[in-house]
Subunit: 212 residues, 2 copies
């Protein structure tokens, strides 16, 4: 089971690392961080560098494709972008093609989401619709082998659902227990519906959404 | 607000990246990944490399210290380990000294948890007790300015609690909404009490806990 996580300048770190921490625990799993060029890739905050160990060309046929989001996705919505080419071709042989947050914009740019239900960060719903998908305000949206997750932290939930499909419910539960994923956020403000319009406005004012 | 996240060989990535994704959104926050030597640090799976941008000596007085866990913590429980020295000294001037997962073992090795309530990954509770702390099966344990979190994913909850202390409840809620942290795990198996003894045995059999 080869899992390729696509890296690009200005990715959002938790989008990638949440699913990584789940999926690396699958039986016989190998996770490779891939990018157009191997080497250091900086996150959206510029405060974190992660190493891409391989290029897209090195990993043409992973079993699982995972595209995280981040402000950097804006620069990738060109059909000639290397990541778009890679996703389009790798998808023809993948078992699962997945995204977190604005990573779904890249899947859409590759033509994978035309007319399909999909999700993304709540602040990027219009962008996703503009690329031909039908934005669906759910945390995880499955359409055959394409699975999109909502903003940033939702990749953990998506990866656990994927783990259950691949290795069974008990194995997925064991992974959940292994990473002690018993979420107890101190507030209940994790979606626009729960947070309300004033907090949505505050998020935009202080720019803590990762899509800017 | 300077946040230093300690890196070491065989750290668990989500322990560090969960809190990073919350804390980098605090007002005027700078996050620096620090290690004994700057450069690439490999995670416990060996599948991920993160860059430490600075050495411990470069960042002697951060406002927030965060020590993640991982299998690598076993090698750090020596009072002469560089990270233990750094934690001990940085703690004298920090505003908050925090850990995720087996990162609390490092705080304990630095003598910070003697006789205090603290938490760690559920599979490491005996180790923590052996280092002089009183293991407490809570997701986040606050003892004055020392805050310890349970296994891996719990660092997100801990960091949101910290954000509320530092910037107020509404700011913390805005961060939660920014990272769309509205957890909906497909199962309810995130703690030993919820998962039951058979799943605990399965976790140990397939070694998906990060403390091995």
């Amino acid at each position: 089971m080869h899992i390729a996580i696509a890296m690009f300048d200005r990715f959002t770190a938790l989008d990638a690392i949440g699913p990584y921490e789940v999926l690396n625990r699958l039986p016989d799993a190998t996770v490779t961080f891939v990018a157009e060029e191997a080497g250091e890739i900086r996150s959206d905050t510029r405060m974190l560098g992660i190493i891409a160990d391989a290029t897209f060309d090195d990993v043409p046929e992973p079993d699982i494709i995972l595209v995280p989001g981040g402000g950097g996705t804006r620069a990738l919505l060109d059909p000639d972008a290397a990541i778009v080419h890679w996703v389009k071709h790798a998808h023809t042989t993948s078992t699962w093609t997945t995204s977190v947050c604005t990573g779904s914009l890249v899947l859409a740019a590759a033509g994978l989401l035309d007319g399909l239900d999909a999700t993304t960060h709540w602040a990027a719903s219009d962008l996703l619709e503009g690329l031909g998908a039908h934005y669906t305000a759910q945390r995880v949206v499955e359409q055959g082998k394409i699975v999109t997750a909502a903003g940033v932290s939702s990749g953990i939930d998506m990866a656990l659902a994927l783990a259950a499909h691949i290795a069974g419910d008990d194995y997925a539960r064991a992974i959940q227990l292994g990473i002690e994923y018993d979420p107890q956020p101190p507030f209940d403000a994790g979606s626009p519906a729960k947070a309300g319009p004033e907090l949505v406005a505050l998020v935009r004012a202080i720019a803590v959404e990762p899509t800017t």
